[in-house]
């Protein structure tokens, strides 16, 4: 409607302009266009109780079902978590945890028994979780050299300044350099199923497929191209100070060794928050078996290397299935339900306001 009235005006204007002004004398009369005259057709919403009311109800009505859906989905996810830091004296890992040093030669192992009261049907993801570990510290996040990790041979021998003070050790370039790599999580976790018949069955943990595909294939590359001999490729470099083994000995598998070791890649993706988990292994559902992890007793065997007690950190092992929306997290569902309810409630409030006061102005306007 608005647009049509404006158009009519426009035409009028054009006629007058084109008439006498078409001659030699160029008039400086402004053009009569909707834009220049600020008459663009426009939608003018007016926010009153009456007009926004539907929005609130609609939001409420949409959000609550979504919230319920999300909540149910999240609840269907099975998750099991076990803290193996060893803070308590009673904890099997207490002894190991007393060792604050990174480079103790003697590996400390501890095994933690636990009971899964629910069977896990689909693929199970095994995480290690760290708490109070500030992987997002500004200087920490920076302390890496992406070029080196990408297999750049020059950066391999001359790590970026960002890696300082973890760039050189004993005048040799560190590979991989930087604080992130230096502090890599180096506990190894193994899972055993205690068959009710007494045998201890080790559960096969998949080492690969835990990192982003792009990380493994694009971002991280071993130096020296396709040189199968990583030892040679990394020649002239030294291992990070805290590491026990050089980078080319991370795994026996050629495809998972060196910079493209997936544990390493996962670690290098710095966590956003001080309490985080990182994917450690995947327990794949075997084709012939119905359950990936049947209900029963399990033992977690930990090679306890990673000191966290010094900064009040915690270490956890998490077993979880995932759904289309990721891991278990009821928050979003609850949030949707809450916001939906609040909207609904506010809608009701607005309805009352609209009924009590809203008609006053309008009716007066129109009746007058």
């Amino acid at each position: 409607m608005m647009a049509s009235t404006y158009n009519a005006k426009d035409e009028d204007g054009h006629i007058t302009v084109a008439g006498p002004g078409g001659g030699t004398l160029r008039s400086r009369k402004p053009e009569n266009t909707a834009f220049k005259q600020q008459r663009l057709p426009a939608w003018q919403p007016i926010l009153t109780a009456g007009t926004v009311l539907p929005a609130f109800f609609v939001i409420g009505l949409i959000f609550i079902p979504i919230g319920i859906g999300l909540y149910v989905t999240s609840n269907n996810i099975k998750e099991f978590e076990i803290d193996y830091t060893g803070v308590d004296m009673s904890s099997p890992c207490f002894n190991c945890s007393q060792n604050f040093s990174w480079n103790s030669t003697r590996p400390c192992t501890c095994s933690i028994p636990f009971y899964l009261d629910q069977p896990y049907e689909s693929n199970v993801f095994m995480y290690y979780g760290l708490s109070n570990f500030y992987q997002n510290h500004r200087r920490y996040v920076k302390s890496r050299d992406d070029s080196q990790l990408n297999g750049d041979s020059e950066a391999l021998t001359k790590p970026s300044k960002e890696c300082e003070p973890y760039a050189f050790h004993d005048n040799k370039p560190i590979a991989p350099c930087g604080a992130i790599a230096n502090s890599m999580f180096n506990d190894s976790l193994e899972l055993f199923y205690n068959d009710p018949n007494g045998t201890k069955v080790q559960i096969h943990l998949m080492k690969t497929g835990i990192a982003w595909w792009t990380d493994k294939h694009v971002k991280f590359r071993n130096p020296g191209g396709n040189n199968p001999n990583l030892t040679v490729a990394f020649q002239g470099t030294t291992k990070p100070v805290n590491w026990r083994k050089p980078v080319y000995e991370l795994d026996s598998d050629q495809e998972n060794d060196g910079f493209i070791n997936e544990d390493f890649i996962v670690w290098m993706r710095t966590a956003a928050l001080p309490t985080f988990r990182k994917l450690y292994r995947i327990i794949q559902k075997k084709k012939d078996m119905v359950l990936t992890l049947p209900r029963g007793n399990y033992t977690l065997e930990v090679v306890y290397n990673y000191p966290v007690r010094s900064f009040e950190g915690r270490k956890r092992m998490i077993l979880s299935t995932i759904s289309w929306m990721g891991g278990k997290n009821p928050f979003l569902g609850i949030a949707y339900i809450t916001v939906g309810s609040v909207c609904f409630f506010l809608g009701v409030v607005l309805l009352i306001i609209h009924h009590k006061y809203g008609n006053r102005n309008n009716s007066a306007d129109i009746s007058n």
Binding site: W43, L47, Y134, K219, F276, N329, L346
Partner: protein, 1376 residues
């Protein structure tokens, strides 16, 4: 005086001896190619914000504290700086181009080598060069006039480009070159000129010329032709260049544009300061937090706490200090770097739209509004006081004869009234016709310089360029084609048929009588009155006649034209024997060589002998020989010239009303055809041309308020005095009524009509005559001559002499001249007043005129009381003010309390448009009453004294309208300054003339009317309007829009940045206060500059809270701007709180959604950025009032841009962008359903409170603006009905009062009239000084002319107008 001798030596030398003076090349550019970068940067760094941002960018280069990649951090500031630099460069380039054009204009310079005048560029002109100037040429430099082709040794110049005055100025040849022949030979020139140093005073020039003979002659400003002026009417002139180039007065006067800071910007700067405080607090908080976080680990350094690059351990305190700096970098966004640039962009767009507004375009002059100050558009929306000039601002400064009364009979001139009404529409076309007609002949006359007109136009365009637009130049050139005060509207008066018949009858009778040699006294007295009336109109003035064929060339109808009068002796010799001469004749500026002021001495010398001879001649006078006296056309007149000139004569008058009267008389075939110092020639119907011997002209002065001419009537041969003057004075000089019943009746009737005229806002003049017997004349002449020759107190004696003559007058009639109000002035004033603006009129005009106009333009209402302050001493003024204050308090205190109570109940009237502004208005301590204050210049001078100014303000601010008459330009500016500084209000000054310049400069916003008086006001102004009425749209619509747009945009900016930065701040709690940011540095840096910039610019430029129509129909909406309701200090904090709330939501919903997951830093940060972007854009959506396709487009563009950039950026390089390296992050996020769920819930939650609040506000307590928007939504018909109803019903008390008063105390319906009637009689509360004139009783005229106007006004309309009250505060000490 520091006079620097400037030696100008012309002569036969080969080289100019004045090489060392500045040449005429002008260079107004700021930069050269080399100096551009350093100079521009230096200038930009004067802005504190730029220094700050550069400092932060440089801080990034320090490794310990850096937060971002240093190069990247430089990007925004470099971008901002380069945008500004490019803008500056472009401006400078334009200046350079126009400089070049000007420098390459041609002029004729005397070449010493070639011994002739050669064409040269302006820039090659040097001091000491001789320049030959031709008609219509523009002066290239300040030139001392040495010779002119004009026989009077004059050179006429038009100074429109300098001061905008369109009337011609005369310049004289230097005295010592006076006697030279026309062909001045530069080679013979050998004198030295010494003059003062170049200065910018246009009205002063002093120096002297030293001739070889050692003779010294003084030089005055009358000898100097200034650069930029145009030569007119003078075929050729030669001068010597005194000042050139940048030393010319015109260039020295060319100050650059002033930088004004708007109120909004001042307020914004306070909040920027608060932002800095918030920033520092946040940084400090983070620094302390970091220190504590470090401290808690003690010596056991955790593995993630990386050592410094040197491997050294940082102590908690040191790292806290470093962190503080880092945080400043990270949080820098809080101080919005793009705010300043955005504001500039938005303001430029706003200016563009104001420029483009068709409603502000004046077809007649082909000019539209010009914004000359780019940075105070939003101030237009916050004005509180308007100070307006009267003449030319409220009025057109076109005096139009409207009606007259002769011999007690009113001739209503209805046809004339209709004609005037018609001009409202017809104006433009007619003007165009005449302007074309006017150019053609001129072009013929200047054929020697082909296309002079084109040159003229282009040149005057150039000379204006410094201050900006072509519009001015064009206007100036249009104006120059006209004689002043000669638009068709002023010229073509439609005669009243009745009166025309009478004139014809009368003149035919006279012709008959003349033919039959009957004495004229036998003519019926009413008929003779009529003819006398028109003769008086024609000759009782100082109008000079010019012929249009040679524009502005005087019509010379002198007998011996060939040899102009050179000496006084010659003059006497030639004229005394044959004709009477008059010494005090000051009207003949056209043919007297020297101008009036300098001629005083001479004229008195000359007058005595001539006058004596007059006396003797009178004695010897034979009985009138009619046939003889009646040779009206002198034989030596060239008949051919007459034929051409006939009917096409132009009248050049000093004041527009004189011209109006002459044109009026011409409409009755009674036309002035020639004026000489001693003779006026009038052409009458049937009678042909009559020459009146002009014996004396007693010029107008403001004390007498009248002028008279003494002539010898050629028909009756009587010595007749024609007097024309203000009704108040003439009426007192009329012969006592007892002399005749008829005269008594005439006087009575005329007085009635005069009052009627005044009520119509017409300027009234009375015309009277007096016939002197020879004895009386001789007697008077004797004493008059004594007075003229007196050495001491000559002025007073002459004054007394005039008083003696102007007595016992015979009233002929009165005229009503319309000082035509510009179109729509009363409406504009009414609606501006409704908009809460206080309007003061400051005029140099006399009190009566000013009051009349004030009534005409509804500034004063008939039912208003008027306080008139006239004091003649400081004490009297103090007393007056004191009394008025008491009076106001006594009178209105009780009534306002009464009203307030009523207002409370009235606020719940069923229809209410302005509910929420009442609280603010009630807090105003001073109520504005229905009072008008009229104060004259002298009293104003006392009132503006330090000791009285507070009292004056107290009185003035409680009056609804204030009228300052007879005020000087300085007083005008003092009043503005006083109000501005003491009341702390926003002031706007509007004026059109040079006398308004100071006021325009002092006010917060200066508006110039590009009217008849020219460009000087425009040059000084911030905005130039073609018409006063455009002020309404400029303020009410554009001002409101600009203000509300900018205010909202600034608030939004603060919100946006705070919201964005707070996200990072919350994150510090989860990253050990390490200054880490989850938002990628690219997003962080370009968020403001790119992703979220466009929508707010679009909204800031295009958003309309209320439509233009509604804003104009409901001026009350303007009050929101005055009260700064769109941007109050608390709103900043509300926005901050909202920003923090929203950022909490945007931070913690993703936080909890991703809590204890394997999410990495940037996979988590990117959704937060996205959410923040959505929230910010939706927030803008809530605040956007009108959604055009531009808004939709800009928002979609922003979102699309963000995702595009993010996707490209995240796919571009797997190893770059340390430290974030967000490779493939966005791509993965887009596959994650969780991301979409976040994108839905977070903005909704974040905006819920604001949305809810807005909705409640819209229903529960809508602001006036919101009500206006609701009105907007209604169909046009309904809206109009509502508005008209509201005006009639509720609005009627509102509309007649200033709105905020009315809001506070709207009267119940119908109480309006009774209320006025029941105002307590002021008598009770008055002291002895307050003399109340109840208008019904005032049959006698009081001292002030506005009073009689009321007598009749109320007599006429007593049936339906409430009685008006008058209070005269006469502070004359005698009365006290």
């Amino acid at each position: 005086d520091t006079k620097k001798p400037r030696l100008n030596r012309g002569g036969a030398w080969e080289e100019n001896p004045n090489r060392h003076y500045a040449n005429n090349k002008i260079k107004t550019t700021k930069y050269t190619l080399l100096s551009f970068l350093p100079k521009n940067l230096f200038e930009q760094f004067h802005r504190f914000a730029n220094v700050y941002f550069v400092f932060i960018a440089l801080l990034n280069f320090v490794p310990v504290v850096n937060a971002f990649q240093p190069e990247l951090a430089l990007a925004p500031v470099v971008f901002i700086l380069s945008v500004t630099a490019i803008k500056d460069l472009w401006e400078d380039y334009r200046r350079h181009r126009s400089d070049k054009e000007i420098n390459h204009m041609d002029c004729l310079v005397y070449s010493r080598v070639e011994r002739r005048y050669v064409e040269k560029y302006w820039k090659e002109v040097r001091v000491g060069d001789f320049i030959r100037l031709r008609c219509n040429e523009i002066l290239p430099a300040d030139v001392l006039l040495l010779t002119s082709s004009d026989p009077d040794r004059l050179c006429h110049i038009e100074t429109a480009t300098l001061d905008g005055e369109t009337n011609l100025k005369q310049r004289q040849v230097v005295r010592s070159f006076f006697d030279l022949d026309c062909d001045f030979d530069p080679t013979k020139y050998n004198s030295i000129i010494e003059c003062e140093k170049p200065n910018n005073d246009l009205n002063r020039f002093r120096g002297y010329i030293i001739h070889r003979s050692g003779r010294r002659d003084a030089l005055y400003k009358e000898n100097l032709l200034l650069r930029g002026c145009t030569i007119r009417n003078t075929e050729e002139a030669v001068g010597i260049v005194i000042y050139a180039g940048h030393e010319t007065k015109a260039m020295l006067n060319n100050n650059g544009p002033r930088y004004k800071r708007s109120k909004l910007e001042r307020q914004m700067n306070v909040d920027v300061f608060w932002c800095v405080i918030i920033l520092l607090v946040m940084c400090l908080f983070a620094a302390v937090g970091h220190g504590l976080w470090m401290f808690q680990y003690g010596d056991k350094r955790p593995v993630f706490d990386v050592l410094s690059p040197e491997g050294t351990d940082l102590s908690p305190i040191m790292s806290a200090i470093y962190l503080f700096l880092t945080m400043i970098i990270v949080f820098q966004v809080l101080i919005p770097i793009s705010l300043f640039v955005s504001i500039e962009i938005v303001k430029i767009c706003q200016v563009f739209f104001i420029h483009q507004d068709m409603d502000l375009y004046d077809e007649e002059t082909d000019s539209h509004l010009q914004c000359r100050a780019l940075n105070i558009t939003e101030d237009l929306g916050q004005m509180q006081y308007i100070f307006s000039d009267k003449t030319g601002t409220l009025t057109e400064n076109k005096m139009v004869f409207r009606r007259c009364t002769v011999a007690g009979v009113e001739y209503s001139h209805d046809a004339n009234a209709r004609r005037l009404a018609m001009y409202q529409e017809m104006d433009s076309e007619e003007e165009e016709c005449t302007s074309h007609g006017g150019t053609l002949p001129r072009r013929d006359s200047v054929t020697s310089h082909q296309s002079a007109r084109v040159v003229l136009r282009s040149q005057s365009t150039k000379s204006h360029r410094r201050t900006g637009s072509r519009a001015e130049a064009k206007r100036a050139s249009i104006l120059s084609k006209h004689t002043a005060f000669s638009s068709p509207m002023e010229k073509d008066i439609t005669p009243d048929p009745q009166l025309l018949d009478k004139v014809n009858e009368c003149s035919s009778q006279m012709d008959f009588m003349r033919f039959h040699s009957q004495p004229m006294s036998q003519l019926p007295s009413d008929l003779s009155d009529i003819i006398d009336f028109f003769i008086a109109l024609t000759i009782c003035n100082t109008v000079v006649v010019s012929s249009p064929n040679q524009p502005r060339q005087k019509v010379r109808m002198r007998f011996e034209l060939k040899s102009p009068v050179k000496t006084i002796e010659d003059f006497i010799k030639r004229f005394t024997p044959s004709r009477l001469t008059s010494g005090s004749n000051s009207s003949s500026s056209s043919s007297l060589i020297t101008n009036r002021s300098s001629n005083r001495g001479c004229s008195s010398i000359l007058s005595s002998p001539s006058a004596e001879s007059t006396l003797t001649k009178l004695d010897e006078e034979k009985p009138p020989n009619l046939e003889h006296t009646f040779s009206p056309v002198p034989p030596c007149y060239s008949e051919k010239a007459w034929a051409v000139a006939e009917g096409e004569l132009r009248y050049e008058a000093e004041s527009p009303d004189e011209a109006a009267l002459v044109y009026a008389a011409r409409a009755y075939k009674c036309s002035l055809v020639g004026r000489l110092p001693d003779q006026v020639t009038v052409e009458l119907p049937h009678l042909g041309k009559l020459s009146f011997e002009l014996l004396h002209t007693l010029g107008f002065d403001s004390t007498r308020k009248r002028m008279s001419v003494v002539v010898r009537h050629p028909l009756t041969d009587q010595i007749t005095v024609y007097t024309k003057g203000a009704d108040s004075v003439i009426m007192d000089l009329i012969k006592p009524p007892n002399t005749g019943k008829r005269q008594k009746k005439i006087v009575y009737r005329t007085q009635n009509y005069l009052n009627l005229y005044a009520a119509d806002g017409l300027r009234t003049l009375c015309i009277a005559k007096k016939v002197l017997t020879k004895e009386e004349y001789a007697c008077w002449l004797q004493r008059h001559l004594e007075a003229e020759t007196a050495i001491q107190g000559r002025e007073e004696l002459l004054f007394e002499s005039a008083l003696r003559l102007e007595t016992n007058l015979h009233l002929l009639g009165a005229t009503g001249i319309e000082d035509r109000l510009q179109d729509g002035v009363p409406e504009t004033i009414a609606s501006l007043r409704k908009a809460g603006l206080q309007i003061w009129v400051l005029t140099g005009d006399k009190q009566e005129t000013a009051v009349n106009i004030a009534y005409a333009c509804k500034l004063l209402e008939p039912e208003e009381e008027i306080l008139t302050l006239n004091a003649d001493s400081q004490e009297a003024c103090a007393l007056l003010l004191e009394e008025s204050l008491h009076y106001i308090q006594a009178k209105f205190l009780c009534s306002s309390a009464d009203h307030a109570a009523k207002a409370f109940t009235a606020n719940f009237a069923p229809f209410e448009i302005y509910p929420s502004s009442s609280p603010s208005s009630s807090s105003v301590p001073f109520m504005v009453h229905r009072l008008g204050l009229v104060i004259d210049g002298r009293t104003l001078a006392y009132a503006l004294d330090k000791s009285l100014e507070d009292k004056f303000l107290a009185v003035a601010r409680s009056c609804r309208s204030v009228l300052c008459c007879r005020s000087t330009p300085l007083q005008k500016s003092m009043v503005v300054k006083l109000v501005r500084n003491k009341l702390k209000v926003m002031t706007l000054a509007i004026g059109d003339g040079a006398n308004d310049v100071s006021m325009i400069q002092v006010a917060d916003v200066g508006v110039g009317i590009s009217g008849q008086e020219g460009m000087q006001a425009v040059m000084a102004s911030d905005f130039a309007l073609p018409r006063f009425r455009y002020l309404q749209k400029l303020l009410l619509v554009h001002g409101h829009w600009c203000y509300s747009r900018l205010a909202n945009m600034i608030l939004y900016f603060f919100y946006k940045n705070a919201m964005f930065v707070a996200l990072i701040f919350w994150y510090q709690f989860y990253c050990g206060f390490s200054g880490s940011a989850m938002i990628d540095q690219w997003y962080l840096i370009f968020f403001n500059l790119m992703f979220s910039a466009f929508p707010q610019l679009i909204t800031g430029t295009l958003d309309k809270d209320v439509s233009a129509e509604t804003l104009q129909q409901l001026p009350q909406l303007y009050i929101s701007g005055q009260n700064s309701e769109e941007y109050k200090p608390y709103m900043f904090w509300m926005n901050m709180i909202d920003a923090f709330y929203q950022s909490l939501v945007c931070f913690f919903i993703p936080y909890f959604a991703y809590a204890d997951s394997d999410v990495d830093l940037f996979t988590w940060g990117t959704p937060i950025t996205t959410l923040a972007l959505f929230t910010i854009l939706l927030h803008l959506g809530i605040e956007t009032k009108t959604w055009t396709w531009m808004n939709w487009l800009s928002i979609s563009f922003s979102i699309a841009l963000f995702f595009t950039v993010a996707l490209c950026y995240n796919a571009s390089c797997p190893t770059c962008y340390s430290p974030s390296n967000p490779y493939w992050t966005m791509q993965r996020l887009l596959q994650d359903p969780l991301f979409y769920f976040l994108c839905v819930i977070t903005p909704v939650t974040a905006l819920l409170p604001r949305y809810f609040y807005r909705a409640c506000q819209g229903t529960l307590f809508p602001s006036p603006v919101q009500v206006g928007r609701q009105l907007d939504k209604l169909p046009a018909e309904t809206r109009r009905n509502i508005l008209s109803l509201s005006r009639v019903k509720v609005g009627s008390p509102l509309s007649t009062k200033p709105p905020f008063l009315s809001l506070a105390k709207p009267l119940p319906k119908g109480s309006n009239k009774t209320e006025k009637g029941s105002f307590p009689s002021p008598k009770a509360s008055q002291g002895s000084i307050l003399q109340t004139h109840d208008t019904r009783k005032c049959h006698k005229r009081s001292q002030i002319s506005c009073a009689p106007r009321f007598c009749v006004g109320s007599l006429q309309f007593s049936g339906f107008l409430p009685p008006s009250k008058h209070m005269h505060l006469n502070g004359l000490t005698g009365q006290i």
